[in-house]
Symmetry: C2
Subunit: 346 residues, 2 copies
């Protein structure tokens, strides 16, 4: 690849404006403490020369990079199969942009990549990291914490090993789940089944907990494991129907799962919502609006989660020594509310 063409330096601008490099630097960085006429002259010189600061030189002295890494683990599975991460990225990007930070995307596919990511983060190339760690046993979070970079996690990490101080943003999975099941119960449904997500992710576990909160010690055969995919939803729905033909409602761990369940329900001749009411989770528009019939679901504001993660990283609580307890001693998780969106299935 080609080298970047040589661009004008501070020196050049200074010469043109007839001032010192330091003055130009001051103006470029906000212009405080420089008298108006000079500011003006420098601005013009910058303009005329098309000067853009050299970030490398700046970083070298400031030790800041104005860049944040976004680490997404295991794209092979879900990533981009549903729009989840895309939306999250959008939120992150907006917030970072507003703070003049760049987004360095790190996608990982396995153990080798973990080492690579850890090395990169430890290398101090970025000011912080936003990490999506999907699985309970993922070694990545540990590596990352070891790297000593301020980090915010997307979704509650599974390894709450008591260290506290882990910063994360999550939806109120448990509460939303309760809401869903209560809604179903309010509709008069009594045999409410649940298709879980991949239970090695806290979001799935939390949603299952929410279901149990409301259902108490209901028939355990009403719960079947899914994996957040339509195919998993189909499989689980078939299983459930065979096992409990009398079920009259299904709460699916996400919209994709619900779409699979819906397909099986139709195939088996159950009317939705007359015979079986269905409710999903996520409110993934392209999915939820186009199932047949349109899906009632629990909405989480995914883009906002992304934005919040970035904000937390940039202004966050005690970012100096992330990983320790804060002064308050509290683990700093932020949980966003969910809302029920009613369409046609429940």
């Amino acid at each position: 690849m080609a080298e970047t063409a040589s661009r004008p330096t501070l020196e050049a601008v200074a010469a043109r404006a007839g001032v010192s490099r330091a003055t130009v630097s001051r103006v470029v960085n906000g212009g405080d403490g420089v008298r108006e006429p000079l500011v003006e002259r420098v601005r013009r010189a910058v303009e005329e020369l098309g000067y853009v600061p050299n970030q490398a030189a700046r970083s070298l002295v400031t030790k800041r990079h104005d860049a944040v890494a976004v680490v997404i683990a295991e794209p092979e599975t879900r990533v981009f199969a549903d729009p989840f991460f895309g939306l999250q990225l959008r939120g992150i990007s907006k917030e970072l942009t507003a703070h003049d930070n760049q987004l360095v995307l790190l996608l990982t596919e396995g153990r080798d990549d973990h080492a690579r990511v850890a090395r990169y983060l430890a290398g101090g190339h970025v000011d912080g990291a936003l990490v999506f760690s999907l699985h309970l046993d993922d070694p990545l979070p540990g590596l990352i914490r070891g790297a000593g970079v301020p980090t915010v996690f997307g979704g509650r990490p599974g390894w709450s090993d008591g260290t506290g101080g882990v910063v994360y943003v999550d939806s109120d999975n448990r509460g939303g789940s309760r809401n869903a099941v209560r809604h179903l119960a309010g509709l008069g449904r009594r045999r409410i089944a649940h298709i879980t997500g991949a239970l090695d992710q806290t979001s799935a576990a939390d949603r299952l907990d929410g279901y149990r909160d409301v259902m108490g010690d209901a028939d355990p055969r009403l719960v079947e494991q899914g994996d957040f995919t339509p195919a998993g939803g189909e499989r689980a729905m078939r299983e459930l129907l065979d096992r409990c033909p009398d079920l009259d409602a299904v709460f699916a761990a996400n919209d994709l799962t619900a779409s699979g369940a819906l397909r099986v329900l139709r195939e088996r001749g159950r009317r939705v919502p007359e015979d079986v009411a269905v409710i999903g989770f996520d409110d993934m528009l392209p999915v939820a609006e186009h199932t047949d019939p349109p899906l009632t679901t629990i909405r989480q504001d995914i883009e906002e989660m992304g934005r919040l993660m970035a904000r937390l990283l940039l202004d966050g609580p005690d970012p100096r020594r992330h990983g320790e307890s804060t002064a308050a001693g509290a683990p700093t998780g932020v949980v966003l509310p969910t809302t029920l969106v009613r369409r046609a299935t429940a």
Copy 2:
């Protein structure tokens, strides 16, 4: 946000290994021209100290960044609604990683962002750019070419203004399209309709051209405009059915569109494929495998497109003065083949 903790420098490693900074530098950068025992000593020192080169310092002198920007315009519309960009990103990421390059993600949402991106690219922060420009009238490509950064476009740009030398990677949309229509014709279908994509994108235009290549001057009422979304597919399908109740096949511009069309077909009581054969484009697995019935479609290897874009940027033809004609004078577009994947709808 916190500053990056201070890490060991070249100097420290040199001291520890009992050599000069220059020697350490040589070893770190491949170790050519350094005698084996010394290499060994330095390696150990690096290891023990956990030394990682400071990229900013290196860039400052080499003027290279080992970083590539990926610019995705207008996320609001399609991006991440279908897995297209995600897959592409994955391919890009893999290739960049293999070349030790970082991926800087630039998402844009409007005119303001354009200026921002142009400034960033012109600022020489990255060694090159991978750009997805969706719309014919997008000003972004122009701005980017003006920034003087080596660039590879994803999808054939619409503004082939005769300058030549534009490097891009695209699927054989037109050929794939012909293939689809011929397949339908081979099945004995005669009234083959086409639901287009958003026609301000070259991929949609090319697919329409392919359809016409085969259909010649067929009934123009068999073509209805869509927009690459399921909703657009539904709308267009309804229209088509009203206008030409005798149609016996539909070629949709992408799988999402086909899924919408399928829904309407079912709703109107047409059996697929008996009454109406349907074929899509993309082979977006989560969509194509789970339509009802599973969708026959034209596959394009999206991840490979991404990988190829990155490869082209990194080793590309005459990258020094991108934008000019190459020695051969040819515009350097790379077009990837497509294949027909037969499932149940055609």
